[in-house]
């Protein structure tokens, strides 16, 4: 696998943007879940 072919963007920044996605505005629990998911993924538990 040639990792140089990956698009250049920060996964962490992508998650931070997802945290403020307007889709979650009406449901704080989903936003908490996104935060938990971000921790799970960004900390490398995959």
């Amino acid at each position: 696998m040639d990792t140089n072919q990956f698009e250049e963007f920060s996964v962490e920044e992508l998650f931070k943007e997802l945290l403020t996605d307007e889709s979650w505005e009406s449901d704080p629990e989903i936003r908490e879940g996104v935060s938990s998911y971000m921790f799970y993924v960004v900390c490398g538990y995959v």
Binding site: T3, F6, E7, S10, V11, E12, L18, E32, G33, V42
Partner: protein, 389 residues
């Protein structure tokens, strides 16, 4: 004193070689609990309330003081599927979640240079884009995929919230809830980056690369594990580590790849009075004496494949043995054999502290224990745990 406070005190006393009011009795149960309720993951994963309710049924019925899982979501395999990761899948009977290590895609040996050059970029970018293929395209494509994945993850999160509330209301203590959770950099390479086979070859063919990579990963990781003296003196919540590759390592390699970082990160917590819980995987008899470097009573060992009596003879004067009936016996033995084993454990370990009763392995799926055997062992353990002082 609340029931949870009593359990905490009993764990502290038992692991400090004092006779506790009650020998703590705990269990580590995941998918087996669903099978006990007659369901499987496939049937409940889209319904968090049903998932939590069916999972928790066994905890209404077993006499338990604590559990070790922290009930953050289990491996959210359907959420990972949404970002192209299929490393985790359901077992044949759909009551267990399996890490398909032999089928996973791992990175080549050139990865060591990437880690050494920029461990932060590697961990937060390259590794994630490798393990989650939907992140390899454009940012917009990745955003949409992660958003769908996050919606799926919300189901797991909802279920875990219900489970956490249940354990709080029922005063069942969570053993593992500390931020001092040490997973060695080499285990990361072993488990997720190079895979078991490749990494064990690497430490023989290119050891200096492996050492440099684990050092680089550690420099990044140690910040989050940095010891805070302000909370270091409390015995609980305890520090924790899961041993994974360690059973394959010689003492010298263990010192270089595992112990070196452990002493730096978890060592200060143990010196300060915090308990440390080691969940072993595989045979570790050649390593247990290492814990004599830390104060007596600071270590709690949950042996996996080692005979607990042998572990007790090796280090039972220094560390607490947290164990129970072997999973194999629970799955295939008779009820009498299981009950006799519980009596043997309590008679051998019980009277003067240094013993906590626990599942010998996590009960992951339906065939990990016969229902009658599990109930018989916990009824006996509950009876024997009281008034042993």
């Amino acid at each position: 004193m609340s029931r949870i406070e009593e359990t905490q005190q009993n764990i502290i006393d038992a692991s400090s070689f004092k006779t506790p009011e009650k020998i703590p009795v705990g269990a580590d149960i995941s998918g087996w609990a669903l099978a006990y309720s007659g369901v499987n993951y496939e049937q409940v994963i889209d319904h968090p309330e049903i998932y939590a309710k069916t999972y928790l049924k066994i905890f209404d019925e077993l006499p338990l003081d604590f559990t070790a899982l922290n009930y953050d979501p289990i491996v959210p395999f359907t959420a990972l599927n949404k970002v192209g990761c299929y490393d985790y899948t359901l077992s044949e009977d759909k009551t267990g979640i399996t890490h398909r290590q032999s089928d996973s895609s791992y990175m080549g040996p050139e990865v060591y240079n990437q880690i050494i050059a920029d461990p932060d970029k590697f961990m937060t970018d390259t590794l994630l884009k490798t393990k989650l293929p939907s992140l390899q395209g454009t940012r917009d494509e990745a955003y949409d995929a992660v958003k769908e994945s996050a919606k799926e993850y919300a189901k797991y999160y909802r279920a875990s919230r219900i489970m956490n509330d249940y354990f709080a209301e029922n005063e069942i203590y969570h053993l593992v809830q500390s931020r001092y959770n040490y997973f060695s950099p080499f285990n990361l390479i072993f488990d997720r980056i190079r895979g078991i086979k490749n990494s064990l070859i690497d430490i023989r063919r290119i050891p200096e690369k492996v050492f440099a990579a684990t050092d680089a990963l550690w420099e990044r990781e140690k910040i989050s594990l940095a010891f805070d003296p302000s909370d270091g003196g409390d015995p609980l919540p305890m520090s924790v580590s899961v041993y994974h590759s360690e059973c394959f390592l010689s003492p010298d390699l263990f010192d270089r790849l595992i112990w070196k970082y452990f002493v730096e990160s978890i060592g200060p917590t143990m010196e300060a009075g915090k308990k440390f819980y080691l969940f072993g995987e595989g045979r570790l008899m050649h390593l247990y004496d290492k814990f004599r470097e830390f104060p007596k009573g600071s270590t709690i060992i949950c042996p996996d494949s080692d005979d607990p009596i042998e572990v007790y003879n090796k280090i039972g004067d220094w560390a607490t043995i947290m164990t129970g009936v072997p999973a194999l016996l629970l799955a295939s033995g008779t009820k009498q054999e299981c009950v006799d084993y519980v009596k043997r454990l309590f008679d051998t370990f019980g009277p003067n502290g240094g013993f906590i009763y626990y599942t010998n392995k996590e009960l992951i799926s339906s065939k990990d224990a016969k229902v009658d055997n599990l109930f018989a062992t916990y009824q006996m353990a509950d009876e024997l745990s009281r008034g042993r002082g």
